[in-house]
């Protein structure tokens, strides 16, 4: 039942609504059979990319290719694209089976073929026996699965998922996420998914494209985005990080730098990573992940500060430390809550090199 996947290509695609530019020359290739996640804040253009691909919106400039074939002029009905809508958009007046069969009846197949395909799809999403149920009788998770079965039934070449989990209870989300990934992987279909939640993108997407203000900031695997963010935006959007201002002190080989955290030149400098464009004496923003630092209450070398708050999540305790120079930094301490408080120093954990970017025009606290 696996369809051999096809590639999807956005080639310099631009789109504006009235005077608002939503996509500005985006190029992207999704590999055959890949699950690709478009991640970004609301208004970044990710949903527009999906709707352009489905044919619900027309692009202003550029090309869209599915299996190396231009599709931008085809109506939605002829693109061979299946879509799982955020609201599911199930037809409330039709039964579960009729919903799944809708896309099959449009294509002229025999009744027997249609019934067999509906049964196959409902089995895939583990809803066999629900054929005659009304949509309103189903739980949110079941509705989502019917919508998935309906989208997959006509054997589309590409599957689009628009915020597929956002309508579910948080408790149900984690379970459904794994389920969704398993089902989609089983069919082998090329899949493009849109989400604003990093966790969802990381778990579902084999590669991720991070969008910001109509442009792709970075494309890569989850680990790459986390460990090697291409911009300050990527660093702050993916995972938690505190941004500290600094000045480049020294360049080493490769992309390693020594950085003085600006307001505290007397503290030991930090080893960081940054692009080759950064020169000595450049002002930079250092993105510090909570797990890349430790705090010590007993004094010693490091950035002096005061513990402001503690947040215990079970496997870690997160401390918010107000540095003497003003900004705060979040520090993860493994293990059970230590109940630390008062004055402390924050020091860099050996081997963890925070990412560094040229300072933004107005470097905030």
């Amino acid at each position: 039942m696996t369809a051999s996947g096809v590639s999807v290509r956005f080639d310099d695609v631009s789109k504006a609504f009235d005077d608002t530019v939503v996509l500005a020359g985006v190029s992207l290739t999704v590999e055959p059979g890949e699950i690709f996640a478009l991640l970004g804040p609301s208004g970044s253009g990710k949903t527009t990319m999906l709707r352009l691909l489905a044919g619900f919106e027309q692009l202003d400039r550029g090309r869209l290719l599915i299996a190396d074939e231009a599709v931008e002029h085809l109506p939605p009905a002829r693109r061979g694209v299946g879509m799982l809508f955020q609201s599911y958009a199930l037809f409330p007046h039709l039964s579960v089976a009729e919903n799944v069969a809708f896309g099959l009846k449009v294509r002229s197949g025999t009744q027997g073929e249609t019934e067999a395909r509906v049964a196959e799809m409902l089995e895939l999403v583990r809803l066999s026996g629900f054929e005659q149920r009304r949509i309103a009788e189903l739980s949110g998770g079941q509705q989502q699965r019917v919508a998935l079965a309906r989208a997959l039934a006509p054997r589309p070449r590409v599957l689009l998922l628009d915020e597929p989990l956002s309508n579910l209870d948080p408790a149900l989300r984690e379970e459904t996420r794994a389920d969704l990934r398993r089902t989609v992987k089983q069919t082998g279909i090329t899949t493009v998914l849109v989400t604003h939640e990093q966790e969802e993108a990381f778990e579902l997407g084999e590669r991720i494209g991070l969008l910001n203000e109509g442009g792709l900031e970075q494309v890569g695997g989850p680990a790459e985005l986390y460990r090697d963010p291409a911009s300050r935006f990527v660093a702050t959007f993916v995972g938690r990080c505190s941004v500290l201002a600094g000045v480049v002190k020294e360049r080493h080989g490769g992309d390693e730098l020594t950085v003085h955290l600006a307001s505290q030149p007397e503290a030991p400098p930090w080893r960081c990573r940054g692009s080759g464009e950064l020169a000595v004496d450049d002002r930079v923003d250092v993105c510090v992940r909570p797990e890349a630092v430790r705090l010590e209450t007993g004094g010693g070398p490091g950035l002096p500060g005061e513990i402001e708050a503690e947040r215990f999540t079970g496997s870690n305790s997160f401390y918010t430390v107000r540095l003497a120079a003003g900004p705060t930094v979040e520090v993860a301490m493994p293990g059970t809550a230590a109940g630390l408080s008062g004055a402390c120093v924050v020091r860099q954990l050996a081997g963890e090199l925070p990412s560094t970017f040229a300072a933004a025009a107005e470097s905030g606290p």
């Binding site: 085809l74 009905a77 002829r78 809508f85 609201s87 896309g103 449009v106 294509r107 006509p154």
Partner: protein, 562 residues
């Protein structure tokens, strides 16, 4: 699956569709109004002659004309006040109190809304007219009373009686949508009952009351049956227009029509300005406060008795109508109560094809107009909501415009525009043919179907159509299998209302009917004129039954959204 080439359907035609539908609506709705205004100035009239303001000058100088305008205004204001005075307390009574028989009584009280105005008017005539049942009853008791039910007070009485239902229904809808938590919050803050009424309940009822005010005022402005039957020499604009037309003063009729249209427009704008949030929808939902239970047994019995008496009074005219339909011709002379009752009139009505003809006419013309209004409504609503922009707004405006304009105005406008053969300017001779009345009914049905279809379509998730498209369905399949089934309640609600309204139409028909297309209302009027009261009443009952049947079917299908 390798699909190449152009999409389904010519894209040129698709982008032209909104403009084609808009052009049709403008031709049907907007254009006749322009023609009538132009002809009032002597432009484009078949009689020739240059543009002139002569007719307008005489309109402004003749006291008759001025009076009709002024009377229309104050009758409408007073009708609205009277309807509110009856309807609002009734709404509170039935929505906020648990009285025995509340559901049945509550529905009965709303009944007059389902009945054609003309039926209500003649029922009133038979009951409270100078030789009506009430007068005869009192006289037979030896009381020397006599009155003439005529003039302004008669019109006001009939208006108040038939239009309180708007306030009643809107008040109930508004109250049932109010969140009881707000009242509890006010109570916990120490507010007294009257403070809660004036500071919490009434302000939040304001949109509903404003909606009822608008509806009542506009209905009253265009009311024709009551002034026509009871007005006598007391003319309002609608009756003045019809009189001018019958007298052959065509240009004066067009001037009056133009003035009434302007008056209606101005009123609409003014009322909307007073309450910009004006909407006929009843507002946000919440859990309404619990109904007050009457604790003492006496109070319960009293309330129930009061309620039944009230319902009796409100339904008495219709009971009288049924009674009158059972009185054989020439059998009731001086007695207080008809001495003979029988089904002679109904036999008469059903046995002769000529007598049955008006009923069939009304049914087919109302059905055809309703069907057309649904088709145009669905097309216009889809195109309007999808396209948006200028054509989208224009489409919706054209669909709702006839609601704001009195029926008499449209009748005259169509009569003016469609009595000239000039196809190159979109004018055809339709007056005097089979087509003019269904066309006029269509115009008046448009806002009724349009309003609910637009509302229904707005509530429909646009993603549903996208889902159908991405599953490979073309637009025809999407409309037939997805949009229409989901719009069914809205279509049925709008179509039911349009059908009932057109079935009993009098105001448009009296201007445009031909002998072959005469509807029930015209037959009632001519029977009355030749003193065949029994036949007139029987027709009235027929209309009442047809309307009630359509109303019940509609209410049932539309899921009891009264």
């Amino acid at each position: 699956m390798s699909a190449a080439g152009a999409g389904r359907g010519a894209p040129q035609l698709r982008s032209l569709m909104p403009w084609l539908v808009l052009a049709f609506l403008v031709w049907l709705v907007g254009y006749p109004l322009l023609v009538v205004a132009a002809e009032a100035f002597g432009i484009g009239s078949p009689g020739g002659g240059g543009p002139t303001t002569e007719a307008f000058r005489s309109f402004f100088t003749r006291p008759d004309e001025w009076n009709a305008m002024w009377r229309t205004l104050w009758i409408s204001v007073l009708s609205t006040l009277a309807a509110a005075a009856i309807g609002v307390p009734l709404g509170f009574l039935f929505e906020r109190n648990e009285i025995p028989g509340r559901r049945l009584l509550g529905a009965l009280v709303a009944l007059p809304v389902a009945l054609p105005p003309l039926v209500g008017v003649i029922a009133f005539l038979f009951l409270y007219g100078e030789s009506g049942l009430a007068a005869r009853g009192l006289q037979s008791l030896g009381l020397d009373v006599s009155w003439r039910l005529t003039g302004a007070w008669a019109i006001l009485l009939v208006h108040a009686y038939s239009m309180y239902v708007y306030f009643y229904l809107f008040t109930r809808a508004g109250l049932s949508g109010q969140d009881g938590a707000a009242i509890e919050a006010a109570q916990s803050l120490g507010a007294s009952r009257s403070q809660i009424l004036f500071r919490v309940t009434l302000p939040r009822l304001r949109p509903a009351l404003a909606g009822a005010t608008l509806l009542t005022f506009m209905t009253s402005l265009g009311s024709f049956s009551a002034p026509y039957i009871f007005g006598g020499g007391f003319r309002v604009m609608t009756t003045q227009i019809v009189a001018s037309k019958l007298n052959g003063e065509l240009r004066m009729a067009y001037v009056e029509t133009t003035m009434l249209a302007l008056l209606a427009f101005a009123s609409l704008l003014l009322l909307r300005k007073i309450d910009p949030g004006l909407d006929l929808a009843s507002g946000a939902r919440g859990t309404p406060p619990a109904r007050r239970r009457l604790h003492s047994r006496g109070a319960r019995i009293g309330a129930a008795a009061g309620g039944w008496v009230l319902a009796g009074v409100l339904l008495l005219p219709h009971a009288t109508l049924i009674l009158m339909s059972l009185v054989p011709p020439n059998t009731w002379t001086v007695e207080a109560f008809p001495p003979v009752l029988g089904l002679v009139n109904y036999g008469d009505l059903l046995s002769s094809t000529e007598r049955l003809r008006p009923a069939l006419n009304s049914i087919w013309m109302a059905a055809a107009a309703t069907l057309a209004a649904v088709v145009v409504g669905v097309m216009a609503a889809r195109l309007s909501l999808r396209r948006g922009g200028l054509p989208g707004r224009a489409l919706e405006a054209m669909m709702t415009l006839p609601w704001a304009i009195p029926g008499t105005v449209f009748a005259l406008a169509l009569a003016a525009a469609m009595s000239v053969n000039a196809p190159w300017v979109g004018r055809f001779v339709l007056v005097g043919t089979l087509w003019i009345l269904p066309l006029a009914y269509l115009v008046r049905s448009l806002p009724l179907t349009g309003r609910s279809i637009f509302a229904g379509l707005r509530q429909l998730d646009p993603r549903l159509e996208e889902a159908a498209a991405s599953l490979g369905a073309g637009s025809l399949r999407t409309v037939l299998q997805i949009v229409l089934p989901l719009l069914r309640p809205a279509v049925i609600a709008g179509a039911g209302l349009a059908f009932i309204t057109m079935l009993g139409d009098f105001v448009t028909s009296i201007v445009l009917y031909t002998y072959d297309t005469r509807p029930i209302s015209i037959e009632i009027q001519s029977s009355l004129r030749i003193q065949e009261t029994g036949i007139a009443a029987a027709y009235g009952v027929l209309l009442m039954v047809l309307s009630a049947a359509a109303f019940i079917a509609w209410d049932d299908r539309a899921g009891g959204r009264l």
